[in-house]
Amino acid sequence: MLSATSLSCVRGERHLFDGLDLAVGPGEWLHVQGENGAGKTSLLRILSSLSPPAAGEILWRGQPIKTLGEDYRREMLFLGHHGAVKEELTPLENLTLAAQLDGTSLSEADAMKALARFGLRGREDLPVRFLSAGQKRRVLLARLAVRQATLWILDEPFTALDVKAVDMLSGLIVEHVTGGGIAILTSHQSILLPNGKVLVL
């Protein structure tokens, strides 16, 4: 259960939002909507503990995330605008090294399976810089299939994906949410998935 009370975010002189309340429970997902520059990414960065809110508090299972620290980070997966994917490494290396960075180990077979699921079979050993933008995105999203996290925070996960990959990702999110997980995501498209809440900034 993630909840936030009277959050506000200030960028320079501008107040992006004030007094924002939200609550997402297990089995639910939250669709954050808003115009460009409304503060969607800023909100996600605040929720993921990357940047502190100007005011307000965020609670995870009833405890402030500031005091939870690494216990919160272990249960949370944040995928931002940037890929966090290294161009010089292969998809396989990217995936296993990202897993090790999260403090878990990932067997090569599991990594191959996750990449195959995202349609990257046969490209596991090709440096990522030879892949298209959409395929790079898929390498990043393959982390969703291998990382054990309760809370997913995804910033524009559907960008640069083709129709098939959008379906695949939607399926993954539904699977995660019905399994008792929580997902928070931003998108300009309307997403038709069950148990969704909408937050308009």
């Binding site: 690494e70 931002g80 605008h81 966090a84 490494l89 090294l97 090790q100 960075l101 999260d102 403090g103």
Partner: protein
Amino acid sequence: MSAVFAIIRRDLLLAMRRKSEVLTALFFFIIVVSLFPLGIGPEPALLRKIAPGILWVAALLATMLGLARLFAPDHADGTLEQMVLSPTPLGLLIAGKIAAHWITTGLPLVLLAPVLGIQFDLDSGAQGILVVSLLLGTPLLSLIGAIGAALTLGLRGGGVLLSLLVLPLYVPTLIFGAGAVEAYISGTGAGGHLSLLAALLVLGGFFAPWATTAALRIALE
């Protein structure tokens, strides 16, 4: 701890794939050091006298070359954000990155120094002291440099600022490092200089990852 080794392994792997960056610093070191005997001419006594200073200044500048790229690629592609969000403390991961930086830039300089020392007519004893002083000093250069790289991360014209920031902080390392070899050659013994260098390394190893982490957090907010 496994995350720390993963970071080191990843950075070494990246260095292998982008060989030009590592080799640039290395060739810079070789060429700068080799220019002095050519420019000054064959005067063994003079060359022996200036050798420690030249080798050390060249090592210092060679380390500076790649410093701006220490965190910049990770910052640009979002890896730094993932490191902050990793369950492993950021300080440890940063220490891993600094270790990888030393292995790719500092260690080759240490290994090459005795070969280049021959051009300056250094005897084997002085060569040994030179290697030991570089072995203690180059990790310190990586540690101090990381603080500067983190502070200037994301700034326009950060490269020049980085040099202005870091080079003065390199002065103690340079004095004790080059001083150790000079002291050995003049017969007073290098023990004191090397001890001070080792003390600086311990101090830097403890505080630099912490200071770098604090600077990176500010840059990311």
